[in-house]
Amino acid sequence: MIGVIDYGLGNLTSVAGAVQKVGFEPVISSEATDLGRCEKLILPGVGAFGDGMRNLNDRGLVLPLTKMVMERRMPVLGICLGFQLLAKSSSEFGNNNGLGWLDARVSRLQPEDPALRIPHVGWNELYQKGDSILFDDIPELPLFYYVHSYKLETSAVETVIGECDYGGTFAAAIQSGSIFGTQFHPEKSQQHGLALLRNFLEKA
């Protein structure tokens, strides 16, 4: 069973549908006991950073999830806002603390070219770095779907397994041990997105 973490934000139905499509059984839950019984976790998310953390706190999920991921080493995939929440902090609407599972912080996208619109919405290339199981059987320079106004920055450059360019490069995918994250939406990126999701669910 794959735990899709429900914290009141985001396209849970889409994520669960994609998990099902690649042959796994999703469990959408906001209960730590349910999620603790799963083999893997997905932290989806569409929305604002501060609300995301507040909702995780309100549901009493921060500590149990941190134990599952950091102590039990349950593989986790953060998507979009869920990816950003893995960071230590974000400057979105004031300064907010994140889950802190990655040594990273989140700041606003600031493309060098002022003609580039924010949010960054649409299909854009991923430049793969190094070798990650996430990209098995996915061709070079795959297009994934992005929709975001903030980006994640980390000094642990070796954990960045994919970059995207939108008036400057940013971390589009990260792998740090059993912690995975993508700024793009694999559940909304057709065949390459589904392949990436399958790789995480089968191989992580």
Binding site: N11, V46, A48, W123, H185, Q190
Partner: protein, 248 residues
């Protein structure tokens, strides 16, 4: 490089898929078929006129589309409150489209942006030239004049938290004469969020014009003959030949 998007808009009346002409249902689709494998994004709008109508047929249709839709799905129609938004998200929407609800109560945009993020709110604007010859926003399915200038309303919407703007020309709807490029350009120049254009596309060259002349980030169509795999692929090949960066 970020690709220009080709978006399919599906208008649904009482649970049945329609295309529209001058904002009136035109004819019934014979196939509930969407080529979700070539199109970049899908928008589903409930255009049932009766405000008190049961939305269950629409929700059922969205649920069935969403199940096999692995491209972004924007949904809308009659959204007035955050509760409405959560219902639309629960059936599989990735973002919501607001129109009349935002004209009547602009704070709605901010409420959704605060709860779901700005990228979740698409401000849909229906406009045409009024009797004085000026562009004006019309709400309530193009029936109610608002006195708002489309470019100013788009700017206001962006400030309130809209992450995208969808501009539709009421007079070009279903005309196949091409987009209202002047209207689109005015709006795309006024905002820094991405703008999608709808209403009037009848040939692939109209898509090119939407990007080059209209300054759009996405071109939308609800016309039936774009609904087969080959036609969307061919449209994209045509765009690529004209130097527009698309996802083939």
């Amino acid at each position: 490089m970020l690709r220009k998007r080709l978006v399919t808009v599906l208008t649904i009346n009482n649970g049945t898929l329609f295309r529209t002409k001058l904002f009136e249902p035109d004819y019934r689709y014979t196939h509930h078929f969407v080529d979700s494998w070539s199109v970049d994004e899908i928008v589903m709008l409930d255009v049932t006129r009766d405000a008190g109508a049961d939305r269950k047929p629409f929700f059922d249709l969205v649920t069935s589309f969403a199940h096999d839709c692995f491209v972004p799905l924007a949904v809308g129609g009659g959204i007035r409150t955050l509760d409405d938004v959560s219902r639309y998200m629960a059936v599989g929407g990735d973002k919501v489209v607001v129109n009349t609800g935002a004209v009547d109560r602009p704070e709605l945009i901010t409420e959704i942006a605060k709860a779901y993020g700005t990228q979740c709110v698409v401000l849909s604007i229906d406009a045409k030239k009024n009797e004085a010859g000026d562009y004006e926003v019309f709400s309530a399915f193009g029936a109610r004049p608002t006195g708002l200038d489309p470019a100013e309303w788009a700017m206001c919407g962006e400030e309130l938290g809209a992450g995208e703007v969808l501009i539709t020309s009421i007079t070009r709807d279903g005309s196949l004469r091409g987009y209202d490029l002047e209207l689109c350009k005015r709006v795309s120049d006024a905002v820094s969020v991405p703008v999608s254009v709808l209403g009037g596309a009848g040939a692939w060259k109209h898509f090119v014009e939407g990007f080059t002349g209209g300054g759009a980030s996405a071109v939308c169509t609800q016309n039936i003959y774009h609904f087969t795999e080959s036609s969307i692929q061919n449209a994209k090949k045509f765009l690529a030949q004209k130097g527009i960066e698309v996802r083939l």
